[in-house]
């Protein structure tokens, strides 16, 4: 049966802005950026780990009506889009670094039974967490 998870997808409202955020601010690596005019296959990964990619997809295109795309945009900006959870070696330090880069931290590093956990929003409303597992 299945052997790995290679791609997971979240919706972003603007792929240029997403690239700036996920690569420029969160420090992820661009795994694929194929611009085909009307569509753009854009994925990022933790540096050195291209085997697990996040697809930064823009709602729209022929697969989705304008109305559906609008509904998706509405949901994402309400925080009803996706969640991605990363691990980190140092949650507090990572949080400070991201804050200095202007990232919107929505939950300060907090001790949980499973480790130190922290959360941020991407510019569109997606929920991103990072955990220093204990």
């Amino acid at each position: 049966m299945f052997t790995a998870i290679t791609h997971s997808q979240i919706y972003v409202l603007d792929q240029d802005e997403a690239l700036d955020f996920y690569a420029g601010k969160l420090g992820l690596e661009v795994a694929a950026d194929v611009d085909m005019g009307d569509m753009r296959w854009l994925t990022v990964a933790v540096p050195g780990h291209p085997e697990r990619q996040i697809v930064l997809a823009k709602p729209g295109g022929p697969m989705m009506s304008a109305q559906t795309a609008e509904q998706v945009r509405d949901l994402v900006t309400k925080g009803a889009g996706g969640t991605v959870i990363f691990t980190t070696d140092d949650c507090r330090k990572t949080c400070e670094t991201l804050r200095e880069r202007g990232v919107e931290i929505i939950e300060e590093p907090t001790e949980r039974p499973f480790g130190i956990d922290c959360a941020l929003r991407d510019p569109f409303g997606n929920h991103i967490r990072f955990t220093q597992l204990s």
Partner: protein, 148 residues
């Protein structure tokens, strides 16, 4: 729907995130309206239009959810829990908790059962909504990490 609506959504989400984070503080409408960059007069209505409930109700139920977590997973006294999650008096806490959960804090504590899910998941699902709260009380443990 338009970019303007999306911008309003995003700002209301910022206020909601503040409630999820700072529920223990005496948050009020002017403070939340400042976070959302809207006038206090418009804030409650816009928030309700966006999320389907008033900010007062959202915050009250976030506080109840966090109290449920402390009741399940700690031995902190009910009075201390009341102040820790942002209620002003034990009487208000007890009445509000019982009205929303259907059991008193002490009854809830006795019935609690544990399961392993992350905190963010608990916060999203255990905050009492329009329906009956889930019977299963859950604890906050991360799923076992895969071998790396």
């Amino acid at each position: 729907m338009s970019e303007a609506t999306e911008d309003v959504n995003r700002r209301m989400l910022r206020a909601r995130d503040a409630m999820d984070r700072d529920y223990a503080l005496p948050l009020d409408v002017p403070a939340l309206a400042r976070i959302a960059h809207v006038s206090p007069a418009h804030f409650a209505r816009t928030f309700r239009d966006t999320f389907g409930e008033t900010p007062h109700r959202y915050l009250q139920r976030r506080r109840v959810e966090r109290a449920m977590r402390l009741l399940r997973e700690t031995t902190v006294s009910v009075t201390d829990i009341c102040f820790r999650v942002g209620f002003g008096s034990p009487g208000t806490f007890s009445r509000t908790f019982s009205a929303i959960v259907g059991r008193s804090p002490r009854q809830y504590r006795r019935a609690a059962v544990a399961a392993n899910v992350p905190t963010c998941f608990t916060m999203a699902w255990v905050r009492p909504g329009n329906t009956e709260p889930p019977n299963t009380a859950v604890s906050e443990k991360f799923p076992p990490a895969p071998d790396r």
